[in-house]
């Protein structure tokens, strides 16, 4: 009954030191890894809630990109005659919409995640990084569902994937990490400055036109192409078109630039988020 007669089975009690935050960069990735089940539960919750009390449920994940693709094919394709360089317009647009819609939705979710989970944050401790990470990962399920639609379309147009499809996971990873990097910035900023959530829709719209979603990046003059690659999503979308539909050239310099920028955004995002993390419960 007393402390002496009972020893809880602890092999090596970890000493946790709680002290005022220091300013240097210290991402606690080990802690995040230990909380991987929590990340999984957050993802699971997001997905469960997303389509609760909807009539057609997860069909929205297909309908959204599919209808957008139809509209784009009609207006940008049939009417504006955007060059698709030999690809059927539906394939041309859908290839870009797959990563783009994932990216846009992830940014929206990540922006709001800290504010939406305010009660949680002020009442219980967990690595705060789990929240934006989960909001970026939960979009992958919608991505997967809309990808099935893409396979149907490929069959319909009688197209076969090339060996480039083996590169697809790399491009997807680039999209995920870019979304995470930007999402970290936005979620932390929105926790303090609520203006951010009004800015994000404009930012996403502007970003879409700065990415080769409704046009091929070959429309951008060759000498500015490297600059274009500073937008990591440009690399992602070109990569998707190439690996899924064999469009354009294999990823080269542009991809390197995109990856480099992505790493910068991600590292700075983690740093800023960590800096905010210590005060988030006080300001959110």
């Amino acid at each position: 009954m007393t402390a002496e007669s009972f020893t809880p089975p602890i092999a090596d009690p970890v000493v946790l030191r709680i002290a005022p935050p220091t300013d240097w960069f210290k991402p606690n990735l080990l802690e995040l890894w230990e909380s991987r089940e929590l990340v999984y539960f957050f993802v699971w919750r997001d997905i469960k809630i997303r389509y609760k009390q909807t009539v057609i449920g997860a069909a929205w994940a297909v309908l959204q990109p599919f209808l957008t693709m139809l509209i784009f094919s009609l207006f940008f394709g049939k009417l504006a005659h955007i060059p698709s360089e030999g690809l059927p317009y539906p394939i041309f647009f859908y290839c870009a919409l797959l990563p783009w819609m994932y990216f846009a939705a992830s940014l929206q979710n990540a922006t709001n995640t800290i504010v939406e989970n305010q009660r949680l944050i002020t009442k219980v401790y967990f690595p705060r990084l789990a929240l934006p990470l989960a909001s970026v990962l939960s979009g992958l399920v919608d991505f997967g569902i809309s990808f099935l639609m893409f396979i149907v379309m490929m069959v319909y147009f009688g197209m076969r994937p090339s060996a480039g499809i083996l590169w697809l996971p790399a491009f997807l990873l680039l999209a995920i990490l870019t979304a995470l990097g930007v999402g970290l910035w936005l979620s932390a900023l929105n926790a303090v400055y609520r203006d951010v959530r009004y800015v994000v829709p404009f930012m996403v719209q502007f970003w879409m036109f700065a990415s080769p979603v409704v046009y091929p990046s070959s429309l951008v003059p060759e000498k500015w192409r490297w600059l274009y690659g500073l937008n990591p999503m440009a690399g992602v979308i070109e990569g998707f078109r190439w690996s899924l539909a064999g469009h354009g050239s294999p990823p080269g310099r542009m991809l390197f630039v995109s990856s480099g920028v992505m790493i910068l955004i991600l590292l700075s995002g983690v740093a800023y988020f960590q800096k905010m993390e210590t005060t988030i419960a006080d300001v959110v």
């Binding site: 002496e4 539960f41 699971w44 009442k123 401790y125 005060t279 419960a281």
Partner: protein, 413 residues
Amino acid sequence: MSETVIHVEGLGKRYRVGERERYFALRDMLARAFTAPFRRKGTGRSDDYLWAMRGVSFDVSRGEVVGLIGRNGAGKTTLLKILSRITSPTEGFAEIHGRVGSLLEVGTGFHPELTGRENLYLSGAILGMRKSEIVRKFDEIVCFAGVERFIDTPLKHFSTGMQMRLAFAVAAHLEPEILLVDEVLAVGDLEFQKKCLGKMQDVSKSGRTIVFVSHQMNQIRRLCERVIWVDSGQVRLDGFAETVIGAYEQSSLLTSQPKQHELSLHESVSFSGWEVVRRRSSSSNVVAEGAGVVSISVRVLTREVIGHGRVAIVVYDSRGFLISGWSFDDLQLAPGEHDVHLSFSDLPLRPGAYSIYFSIHDDNQRNHNWTLVPALIIEGTPVTHFMDEWAGVLNIPCALETRDSSKVGSEVG
């Protein structure tokens, strides 16, 4: 001998005044960004800041159950939030040895659209349980909450009570080495509260450390051997539960004037004052020593003759338990002012605060009641059981003697 699991040293937390409610607009941020180079870090007018807590130091050993008491806004929750890493301290540090679980709110992470089952998993994960742990304890938790029939119903269709039961059941099955609990037992019906207290006692008996905030002193009394009283962000007193609770109760009683509730059904009698005659300290008229004669004198103003009256006095303790009541018949009072004097040859009550309910009736059922909350503070030393839950309300001295009865021809028959 005893191993320290929580070591707190000089811990302090400073808030910017208004920061908790306010969030900045981008405009403010830009303004700050432009003025930043002209400001030195950490400067700012001192009145912009508020120390919610400062200079707090204490140690907790393994297996201890420590109660945190104090008025609202004293810094109890801030302390728990720092220890559970929700917010970070401004100065000082704390060292924690072992896995910490904190329970600052019942139902953290519940979502109304998810079913009971789904919420159970989610809440468990958020509070720090592993999935395998939740799977293992699932049936036990559902049974504890008593929601077997509704487990696959969305939470929004649960009654508030059911939600609370499920929420607490999840939390009660946490198995951290150190459990930090804010005032969460205040929810739910009495029966469920008892169940929760029982569960917490089980937890403490299995050698885990608990730090527990409550405003309900009887809960603290039941659970804790040691109590820390936090006042204005500082440790005011730290020690045995009964000592600290006693000091806390007296302080909160003495700073606030005793309340008087008067219920008059007739204008013929009114009360104008009272006094504890055998008072010990001159600072208050309500303090008496438990041992020896205690007299309470009540001043009564009568406007009519009371022929066959009755006077009654009833004493309650601070938990609202009735201690004892006395009544005297055949009271006769002429119109005018009277001092009604009630003497107790001995009032062997445990040190603490007591309330008095005083009433005068006469033969025509006209009566007049007067409740004084609190009206009597008993000082002295507890002489009964050292564990509060066994000590009861009386403070009667008892002597211990042992005799050797093994010799042949002893007197013991």
